[in-house]
């Protein structure tokens, strides 16, 4: 239960109910589809029903003849718009030209072919059906391993091997590690394609003001400023005449950390029709055309000593890229290999990534973006090694954790882990489940013929993206703090929250620093016409990087406030705190409102001081942060149906200092739900022809209220030395910890049947088949 503090006391560290909620719980928030403009048109997009086809011709006349249709545009009309951008670069990367509408060929089901603009959304949808496209279907390939096989259909005919890139990462001496190994375990582990599925799909409203030559695009995005730079380039609109607004955004999970064809397309339509236009993605479109996540096939080999000391890890990672590179597509698997060593000390790694084109929608960043895959593989391999050595999986982890005295720890992949006490969360999680007793219960259950499992994961993640040289687009963040003449405060942040609650947590930080009440602070974001340039919300970076920028802007402002306080108190010896400035000699005080009033009225000014109270800070982080934690899942598998019950779920996370425990709990719960979804029920299924079979919520199973177990949360707190707030980030932790904990648990449950590994999702059907095989063997 939240407290409802409004009077001033220390707010950081307190569970305060959110400032953004009143508009959300009353239905008065404004999402993109809630925007109405006079004369606004509606757009609907004709999409390819084929995964691969040549376009022999398009006849749009019947659509144009439908009353209410304003225009129909095809790839021929939009071919001069710049390509959909890829911000990632790798040596030798093959980058197909990604037109916003197909020209003469389509590459995946859902590929946009034409756009209808009409006075009404129903008419626009009707008119799409009246466009005749003469498709010449071609052979398609939807599976990355099949795409690599000789003779596979070429996704892009100019690159018949379907290979977009290969990428190597080596650290230490992998050959020596395997030479010295007393035991080697191998496994093929799949991190299946997932569909991010925010409850709000994408949507765009574009508004062209011809007199000003100015374009405003309202779009459901996580990165309004980066989107502005890139869409301005695509459309040839000068950046200062382009405004992007991310209004209320109904979830993103990485899928809106992107720049999409439709954003530029709506800009094109508005500029060509002279009228505002709205496009709202249907759920079917969301599933077929918004980026997917994961899509790895990993071949792993782990070398170890008989005592359990891990020596090294080899990985061959086959990444299903889809048909194009979206903003970060090729970079995602490189994040996986960076985090491949997990929390462990071993220094020898060898990774080879093969990026493969398929006739599917592109993959890109989905909650965790490379780190869930990395954690899943390392945590599965540790359990496989433990089984091989007949060691307790907890003991094996304790044996290999980086030690507390080894920080900052230089990893085999070139990272510097900031701070940690890796054993602490696992120890705490084991205590919470009463591990020894639980193993006794398991023994008992097995004697009764029940399939009970105990599984754990000890995850590490890389967050707070990040030092700019290590990111594609700058990794700093910005904040502006304005103290208004009345003494109330406006914060402008460059991050772009869409559910994470920074309107509250940032207000907590500002209120504490300035000694104000929470209601005295308003946090604004998401509008490039209001907010200074920023990077956005993704990679658990908002508080660690954006919050730190805010912290430093507040320090600048406090220094200036103090000068005005000294002037008003006629003293050099003053202290600022609790919303007042005190003269240390006389004890006289002036309030923040009085100082603010004086700064704007400017009847007199302190020496070398300008009027007004506003500070902007751009903060460049010196390193990433590295949160960590341990999750334990206790499961029981129904022998007759293959159904898995998660009987207990314990999450102990260390995200550094915590600003608002209630919000942190919400992030963990939601993260675990997405990791559990991957473990138990979610998979994007394409058939051999590239048709998405799981194309609606009926067929793509995201967790429901009944799917979720009660999640028991706890924390250890190891502040990050990277930023003065000591925070690490928590947005993705739950997702990263959950899938290996649950899979390890179910593998443990089925281990009496000889099961050593299970791929996800562990649907009842899949598990039932495994049990049947085990029973027969």
């Amino acid at each position: 239960m939240a407290t409802t503090i409004t009077k001033h006391e220390t707010l950081v560290g307190t569970s305060i109910r959110r400032k953004e909620d009143p508009r959300l719980i009353t239905g008065t928030a404004t999402y993109v589809d809630d925007i109405q403009m006079p004369g606004m048109h509606h757009a609907c997009i004709l999409r390819s029903p084929y995964a691969a086809a040549k376009i022999r011709g398009i006849d749009k006349q019947a659509a144009l003849d439908l009353p209410g249709v304003v225009a129909v545009y095809t790839g021929e009309d939009t071919k001069d718009v710049g390509p959909v951008p890829c911000g990632a670069s790798l040596p030798g990367l093959r980058v197909p030209h990604h037109y916003i509408l197909a020209i003469d060929r389509v590459y995946f089901v859902g590929h946009p072919v034409a756009v209808v603009v009409a006075t009404d959304r129903y008419i626009a949808r009707d008119a799409v059906d009246l466009i005749e496209v003469d498709f010449d279907p071609q052979a398609a390939v939807a599976d990355p391993e099949k795409a690599l096989a000789p003779g596979a259909p070429a996704v892009h005919p100019e690159w018949p091997d379907n290979t977009a890139f290969t990428y190597l990462q080596d650290g230490g001496d992998i050959d020596a590690a395997f030479r010295d190994a007393e035991v080697v375990v191998k496994e093929r582990i799949v991190s299946q394609r997932l569909i991010p599925s925010p409850m709000e799909g994408r949507g765009v409203v574009a508004d062209w003001k011809s007199g000003d030559k100015a374009l405003t695009i309202y779009t459901s995005t996580q990165i309004p400023h980066l989107a502005r730079t890139l869409i301005a380039m695509m459309l040839g609109v000068p950046e200062h005449r382009m405004r992007i607004v991310a209004p209320e955004v109904g979830g993103g999970f990485g899928s809106k950390l992107n720049v999409y064809a439709e954003e530029a397309l709506m800009g094109f339509v508005a500029m060509h029709t002279g009228k505002p236009v709205k496009w709202i993605e249907s759920r079917r479109e969301n599933f077929t055309t918004t980026i997917h996540g994961r899509g790895h096939v990993d071949y792993l080999e782990m070398a170890a000593k008989k005592d359990g000391t891990i020596l090294g890890l080899k990985i061959k990672l086959i990444q299903d890229l889809g048909a194009y590179h979206q903003l970060l597509t090729p970079a995602i698997p490189t994040l996986s290999v960076l985090m491949m060593p997990g929390l462990y000390r071993f220094k020898n790694v060898h990774a080879e990534i093969v990026g493969v084109f398929t006739n599917c929608v592109p993959t890109d960043a989905y909650r965790g973006a490379g780190r869930p895959e990395a954690t899943h593989t390392i945590e599965r391999m540790v359990d496989i090694l433990a089984a091989e050595l007949k060691m307790d999986p907890a003991e094996l982890r304790f044996k290999n954790f980086v030690g507390n005295d080894e920080f900052p720890f230089a990893t085999a992949t070139g990272l510097s882990y900031d701070s940690g006490n890796y054993a602490a969360p696992l120890r705490k999680a084991l205590e919470m489940v009463d591990y020894d007793k639980l193993r006794e219960e398991q023994k008992q259950a097995r004697e009764e013929g029940r399939l009970m499992g105990i599984g754990m994961s000890a995850y590490g993640e890389i967050c707070a993206f990040g030092p700019s040289p290590a990111t594609p687009a700058g990794g700093w963040e910005s904040a502006t703090v304005k103290i208004e003449p009345s003494g109330t405060v406006t914060v402008l942040t460059g991050v772009s929250p869409h559910g994470q609650g920074e309107e509250t947590t940032f207000a907590q930080i500002a209120a504490d620093e300035l000694g104000l009440n929470l209601d005295d602070i308003v946090v604004q974001h998401g509008d490039t016409a209001i907010v200074q340039y920023g990077i956005g919300t993704f990679g658990s970076r908002a508080t660690a990087v954006g919050g730190t920028a805010l912290y430093f802007a507040l320090q600048d402002l406090k220094a200036k406030l103090k000068r005005f306080g000294g002037m008003l108190l006629n003293s050099d010896d003053v202290t600022l705190g609790n919303g007042v400035c005190v003269c240390n000699k006389s004890g006289k005080t002036v309030t923040l409102a009085e100082m603010a009033g004086a700064s704007y009225r400017a009847m007199s000014l302190p020496a070398n001081t300008e009027p007004g109270l506003m500070a902007t800070h751009f903060w460049e982080p010196p390193n990433f942060t590295f949160p960590f934690g341990a999750h334990i899942a206790v499961t029981e598998v129904d022998r007759d149906t293959g159904a898995i019950e998660v009987k207990r779920y314990v999450a102990v996370d260390d995200c550094g200092n915590i600003i608002n425990p209630l919000i942190v709990a919400g992030q963990i719960h939601g993260g675990v739900a997405q990791g559990l979804g991957q473990a138990l029920c979610e998979i994007a299924v394409y058939d051999d022809d590239g048709q998405l079979l799981s194309g609606e919520f009926m067929d793509y199973a995201i967790p429901k209220a009944t799917t979720m177990p009660w999640i028991e949360t706890a924390h250890t707190v190891t502040p990050s030395p990277v930023n003065p707030l000591g925070v690490k980030g928590v947005g993705e932790a739950g997702t990263i910890g959950a899938s290996p904990a649950i899979v390890n648990s179910v593998v443990d449950a089925l281990s009496p049947l000889g099961v050593r590994h299970l791929d996800m999702p562990m649907t009842p059907e899949r598990i039932w088949n495994v049990i049947q095989k085990g029973v027969q063997s």
């Binding site: 939240a2 009143p22 719980i25 928030a29 129903y122 955004v249 979830g251 869409h498 979720m708």
Partner: protein, 156 residues
């Protein structure tokens, strides 16, 4: 061909000529201007569009406006009384039952119906009662807490 519909929405009478194929959710959002209910799937699975029609929580993306002719509709905008939040709204706020907020109006309407039918539900009953409403942000735990808290308050 258009049809006349008369619907009482949040206590006010509305009368419009509508196409027979116009979905109730589009009528509410675009004709009446009540954008609280959202569209999440258009296939009656996600529940973001949940409103009350004659006291029954329904998914308004799967009902035509003409089918609602003569009914009484309540949306998320209509459940606070005299400037006071409904106890379910208050509980969603206190318990952090909303993150991105997109599913929230439907989730609150479904929770309200659940408590009308079962004023003192168990955790299991809450989860089953909300099975028709999807949330991608919260993992449902704080929503379950919110419904429990609202039940306690409404029963008090």
């Amino acid at each position: 061909m258009k049809h006349q519909v008369s619907i009482k929405i949040n206590g006010k009478h509305y009368s419009h000529e509508v196409e027979p194929r116009l979905l109730l959710i589009h009528y509410l959002r675009e004709v009446v201007g009540l954008t609280g209910p959202h569209i999440g799937c258009e296939t009656s699975i996600c529940g973001a569009c949940t409103v009350s029609v004659d006291g029954q929580a329904i998914k308004s993306c799967s009902m035509f406006a003409v089918q609602a002719d003569g009914t009484e509709v309540v949306t998320i905008e209509g459940i606070a009384a005299n400037g006071n939040l409904h106890p379910v709204q208050e509980a969603f706020w206190n318990e952090h039952g909303a993150q991105c907020g997109y599913c929230t109006p439907g989730m609150i309407m479904a929770s309200k119906q659940l408590l009308e039918r079962n004023p003192n539900p168990t955790e299991d009953e809450i989860r089953h009662g909300l099975e028709g409403n999807l949330c991608r942000c919260t993992g449902y735990q704080h929503i379950v807490n919110a419904v429990k808290a609202a039940a306690a308050k409404m029963g008090a």
